[in-house]
Symmetry: C2
Subunit: 136 residues, 2 copies
DNA sequence: CTACATGCAAATGCTTTGCAACCTA
DNA sequence: TAGGTTGCAAAGCATTTGCATGTAG
């Protein structure tokens, strides 16, 4: 089942992984690109995208498909939930226990074969909450 | 809080709404465009996007931001959950009761102000399940 | 040595937007 | 008639890809 996956550890790949592991902010590919560029000025955006994809397939990091248009990345490959700011898009961890029984309710109620679920909380980050309050 | 919203019911808007209400398949903007074109051959894709946006803001339909890259639309404006095929992207309703207490667990555990949550099941539709089985 | 990886630039896919003409209330 | 709406085409944004060159194992 798991396809053969490339394992060559280039400087670019190593650097991207290190940068990601140094942040808890669930950055987008572009944000990662900007950070990596400080260490490897000649790296290309395409390389960043390709490596994030490879690292995610290797199970070393996690690609997040949350609401909104852009994908974000998490150094923590283990499944956990997130909360996203509806105003600025910022993402944080949502430390609640995994809902393992959720699928049980669906069995028999859908013709799909159920694999799992994605849960994401929505809200406002402290900065945006503050900014909203001031506007009044 | 709710901004002033346009209420002009053009033929295009009416047709888009009717088409959407005739399907349970949670179509994308492009799929809706193709259907509407059979009745209004000169309609433009931009008009379809604009009207879907307007109808969603009016609370008459619902815009779905699920996994994957494209947005889908639901004639049913009421909050409910969905299941998405990981293979072909097809979307169906996931008829389970709303999890109203979910946010309670998060209170105190996050610095965000919590508004709500988005839950989506993932699986394989009957067609893709069948196709997978045949491949072996 | 060679298969995988890179940099670059062009291409893709979905969605949004500027604008002049048009139409609904 | 005024202001929302349309069709058209071009632009926007995130992401992917083709290709010649480079490099890790």
């Amino acid at each position: 089942m798991p396809e053969k996956i490339s394992r060559r550890m280039t400087l670019q790949r190593k650097t991207i992984l290190n940068i990601l592991r140094q942040t808890n902010s669930h950055p987008s590919a572009d944000e990662i690109y900007e950070s990596v560029r400080k260490q490897l000025p000649r790296i290309s955006l395409g390389t960043v995208y390709r490596n994030l994809e490879v690292l995610a397939n290797m199970g070393i990091i996690q690609k997040l498909e949350l609401g909104g248009t852009i994908k974000r990345f998490d150094w923590n490959p283990n499944k956990h939930y997130h909360i996203r700011c509806l105003c600025c898009g910022k993402v944080d961890n949502a430390p609640i226990a995994p809902l393992n029984k959720l699928e049980d309710e669906l069995y028999g109620a859908t013709v799909f074969s159920i694999i799992g679920h994605r849960l994401e909380f929505e809200g406002f980050c402290p900065d945006c909450t503050k900014r909203e309050a001031q506007k009044t």
